[in-house]
Subunit: 341 residues, 2 copies
């Protein structure tokens, strides 16, 4: 239908529609100062020809690529993938694509690496997952480089347009409420890594709810962790070795909670009869471990979608909300504590 079978270009559209390429360009870019019938005429030709603007050419002219970047330092795999799916929900059927960029937050060159990356790829914007989303220098870098960004975090790290937030603190309060409701009084906490905002928020939620219930939190009912499985094993082991024993534990994520299962099993402590466990994330392991784990699930995919929309279509309704409520997923790892003898 067209000369050769190459993709039609803006020139083809202009020629067929009998207008200049600039006018076609205006149609593509939704310029407001166009006569309605010109626009319609051009749109008809675009549809007829099946014309799609070439992103490479636009990228060159605009000095900005139609690419969204996903910056992360390896939170858990399912989180990253769910977030990716959400981003894809947002950019499906658009010219945008998603490029992924794992980074190493322990490398001193991280910021420079990212600068080079942004400079080279000229991304439209980046989405930053925790924990590096908490790095204000990184956000400043994006701002300086004129690269859009949205951070995902568990606190109000930034302005609404740059943030999708989960309400970790409040959710953990809910976890404690639930455990107390089940009759628990001595509840332990396995913390997340020092320096992680999410870990901080979860601990604060835990402490404030315990306080609200008038419950004591002895020093040794709080043990450190680093979000890794092994730290959950060790943490729970310490918790289970002091008397009087806690009857329940909140682990700051599922992986550590799974570790707590191990520690319990190794000591012959039965979950949930002797020891109730609650995790955080609702990752696959929570559903697959035995007994199935009660945990906090957050809408990562929606957050991914909203984050991407904040960049590519800031006025869409779905781009608005910045806070995404998590919910308690009750399964079978919590039971009322055994009667004291």
């Amino acid at each position: 239908m067209n000369k050769s079978d190459k993709q039609p270009t803006i020139n083809d559209v202009a020629r067929v529609a009998g207008v200049s390429k600039k006018t076609v360009s205006r149609v593509i870019n939704r310029s407001p100062l166009l006569k309605l019938d010109t626009r319609e005429k051009v749109e008809a030709v675009i549809a007829q020809l099946g014309y799609v603007p070439n992103p490479q050419a636009r990228a060159l002219a605009l000095r900005r690529n139609f690419l969204l970047g996903l910056l992360h330092d390896n939170p858990n795999a399912q989180t990253v993938l769910n977030f990716q799916e959400g981003v894809l929900d947002a950019i499906r059927d658009t010219e945008f694509a998603l490029v992924v960029r794992p980074v190493d937050r322990h490398s001193p060159g991280m910021l420079d690496d990212i600068r080079n990356f942004l400079e080279l790829q000229r991304l439209y914007g980046v989405l930053i997952l925790p924990p590096i989303s908490e790095d204000d220098e990184l956000a400043a870098l994006c701002r300086d480089m004129g690269c859009g960004y949205v951070r995902m975090g568990s606190a109000a790290l930034d302005e609404a347009e740059h943030l999708v937030q989960s309400n970790d603190r409040q959710m953990v309060e809910g976890v404690v409420d639930y455990l107390v409701e089940q009759g628990h009084r001595r509840i332990g906490l396995i913390e997340g890594p020092v320096g992680f905002r999410s870990a901080f928020e979860r601990r604060e939620g835990f402490l404030s709810a315990m306080r609200r219930h008038g419950l004591d939190v002895p020093q040794d009912a709080i043990v450190p962790g680093n979000y890794r499985f092994n730290s959950g094993v060790e943490g729970a082991d310490r918790l289970l070795s002091v008397e009087p024993r806690v009857t329940a534990v909140f682990a700051s994520n599922d992986e550590m909670a799974a570790g707590a299962y191990h520690a319990a099993r190794a000591r012959g402590v039965e979950v949930p009869r002797d020891f109730s466990i609650v995790g955080f994330d609702d990752s696959p392991i929570a559903a697959h471990i035995w007994p199935p784990m009660t945990t906090v699930g957050w809408p990562i995919r929606q957050m991914g979608k909203a984050a991407a929309l904040k960049l590519v279509a800031p006025d869409m309704a779905d781009a608005r909300p910045s806070c995404f409520p998590a919910r308690l997923v009750t399964r079978s790892s919590v039971a009322p504590p055994a009667k004291e003898i």
Copy 2:
């Protein structure tokens, strides 16, 4: 140092080096017909100016982007992420970036979607993960569109330059050997989904090893599955309900193997004392479930790296191998069978 603080362009290099831009271009593209000292002179200027070619401009001129695409339909999350890491290992410090594209193999429009995607983004090449890597139409599409591709698969799906392969069949034979060595004679199989090459290979490996050992595989020792947790629960449940019971099972992936743990536990069957379980993938759950699972681990990250190198640097040594041997990761889910009474 330069006029304004923009990135230097090829023109700046040409001017400072006192050559034409085409010559600089030749240096960048390693054209062989250049005088050595011209090349060295230009290279010195490039280094001095910190010049980096602009990928957007190259993309426009070459009608091909410096992007690698990762096409997958959601195998497990850890697999995808490990593969991504491998790809990143390959393209770190190059101008390439990785764009991800989850697809839905059940959608009738999948192929058209992918065609549009390739047409629009003009990818340098794509990496295709199983199960869609097994789709020959998809490979043909890439070929037609002049888009490089490498498939990851569990069989010789394609020529070496388009393939990174794992030796599933052989590995599963090894699993059976191991179980037999431990004393098992009645061994069950939970299959993967019909139509998946990996599922086929794993079954064939199982059957051929059993045959080699002269062991009988009754009809009801093979149960269907779909790589999902629940099918593992159901499959193992069926296996455990027929007499004489199998003493061990090979589940075609870890997720189903985890399901088998559940089924056993629900019936009061103890793993591994009464029932040995072996999975496939060495996904995180294998290490985190109790007792830790014996499984087959394959070098996904290296495969990702090799796959990417086949596209971007086909002559590098690391790009050569097409077959990547997996290995048995022995943990605690296998024990000799209880003595018959």
